[in-house]
Symmetry: C2
Subunit: 242 residues, 2 copies
C-alpha cells in the first residue's frame, strides 16, 4: 500500500490567500494534520474532514503521525502557516521519512509572511533580500548574529521572522543594535502584525525605533536597504541600485 | 473619479498556483495589463477581458498606461510573474504614481520562484535564506558581487534569480567562482527550469557543477547552506543549525 503526504502552505490564514492547488489537495485528503491554530483557520469548507493536531514543539510527533497514517495508504495533508518550506515542516518530514519507501511526499507552496507582509507595506522586496529568523530555539545566537551582520554588510533588504515572544524578550532590540553597527538609525523600516487575520496592523518606522516597538511572535519585521524610501506611507525599494 | 490599480502576482503561471484573491481581482478588473507572455498564460477564464501589453524593458510605459486608465475610473490589474513585489512591478508603480492622488494602488502577493522552485526540490528554504538577482541591467556588477560574498559569509541558503541569458552569458560561472571563494565546491545545489510550465525540470548538482550547467533566464538556482543535504534526490536544509 502506498500513501501520500502533502505538506501544504496555507498562506497567512484566510482561504483567499491559499492557492487553488493547496485547496484541491486539502479537498482530496483523507485527513488534515497540523498545529491547532492552523486547523481552526481552515473553516467551514473542511469542517467534516478528519483532523489531528499536536501542540507547539510537537512537530516531530506530528510528522511521525502523518507517516504512520500514510503507511496505511491514506492521503495525509500536513498544513503549515505561510509556506510549507520556509521555516515550515517540509524539511522535517523529508528527514523523518528518509527510511520509508512506500510513501510519496509532495510540497505545496504557499504565501510566506515576507510576501504577504510586503504586499501590505507596499513594495519593500523589489531588490535582493534576506529572510532571517530571530528564534534561537534551534539555532545558536552567534549564528543569528553572524547572519544579521552579513545581511547588513550586503545591503540586503532584511525580513525578520519570529522576532521575539514573551519568553524571548529583548531580541528585537539586540538585533537592531547589531544592524546599527553598520546601518544608520534613520533607515526606513516597518513591521506588520497578524497578517491576513483579525488584528492586522502595518507600521512604518525607523531602524532605531524598532528596538522598542510593540513586536511579538505574530509580527514580521522589514528593514529597508540603502535605497528604500517611504512613498505615501508605503515602504518602497526601487528595482535597481543605479 | 477614483480608479484602482491592482498589482497582481500570478505565481509561476498555471491557474492552480494563483491565490483566490488574485483570481478574484482579475475577475473584477476592467482590464488586465502585462508582459505579453504573462497575459497569454491567463487562459480561457479571462479570454474576454480587455488586455494591454508592452514588451520587455517597457515596464515604465506599462505602469503609465495603468495610471492613465485608472484616472478614467477604471479598475486596472497589472499582472507580474511570481510575486507582485519580488523583482516585480509594485515598486515602479508606487514610484510612478507618487504625484497621483485619485488612484488607489493595492498589491496582491503571489508564489515567487524561490517558493515554487523550493517545493519542487524538496525543502531547501527551511532556514535563513537570501534572494539575489544576477541581472546587472539595473544593478552594478560590484553590488551583486558584494551581496554574493555577504550571503556566503552569512552561511545563508542562496536563491539566484535571472542567473544568465543569451546576452548575459557566463554570469552563473562568475557567481559560482565568487561563492567558491568561501564555500567548498561540493556544496549541495540545485536548479529548476520553467517552474509550473511546459518543460519543467529540476536538477540537483554541486556548486562546482553550477558554472557549466545548462542555465538560462527561465532558471532559478539554489545554493545550500553548510547543513543542506540531499535526501532521496531532494534538497533539504534542516530547520535548526544545532
Amino acid at each position: 500500500m502506498r500513501g501520500n503526504i502533502y505538506v501544504v502552505g496555507m498562506g497567512p490564514g484566510k482561504e483567499g490567500m491559499m492557492t487553488g492547488d493547496a485547496l484541491a489537495v486539502l479537498d482530496g485528503a483523507d485527513l488534515i494534520v497540523g498545529y491547532p491554530v492552523y486547523l481552526d483557520q481552515l473553516g467551514e469548507r473542511f469542517a467534516k474532514k478528519e483532523k489531528y493536531s499536536t501542540g507547539m514543539r510537537q512537530e516531530k510527533e506530528r510528522c511521525l503521525y502523518c507517516i504512520e497514517r500514510a503507511k496505511e495508504g491514506k492521503k495525509v495533508a500536513l498544513v503549515c502557516s505561510g509556506d510549507a518550506g520556509v521555516y515550515g515542516m517540509a524539511s522535517l518530514m523529508l528527514e523523518l521519512s528518509e527510511e520509508e519507501n512506500d510513501i510519496e511526499i509532495s510540497v505545496i507552496p504557499g504565501i510566506t509572511a515576507a510576501l504577504s507582509g510586503a504586499a501590505l507595506l507596499g513594495a519593500p522586496l523589489s531588490h535582493d533580500f534576506c529572510v532571517i529568523s530571530l528564534s534561537d530555539l534551534l539555532t545558536p545566537a552567534e549564528g543569528i548574529e553572524r547572519r544579521l551582520r552579513a545581511a547588513a554588510e550586503g545591503d540586503f533588504v532584511i525580513v525578520l521572522y519570529n522576532p521575539q515572544s514573551r519568553n524571548r524578550s529583548g531580541y528585537m532590540k539586540r538585533a537592531a543594535d547589531i544592524l546599527m553597527g553598520s546601518i544608520l538609525g534613520d533607515r526606513p523600516c516597518a513591521y506588520v502584525k497578524n497578517i491576513g487575520r483579525e488584528g492586522e496592523e502595518a507600521h512604518i518606522c525607523t531602524l532605531s525605533e524598532l528596538g522598542d516597538a510593540d513586536i511579538d511572535m505574530f509580527t514580521t519585521v522589514f528593514i529597508g536597504n540603502s535605497k528604500t524610501r517611504i512613498i505615501k506611507d508605503k515602504l518602497v525599494t526601487p528595482r535597481g541600485m543605479v
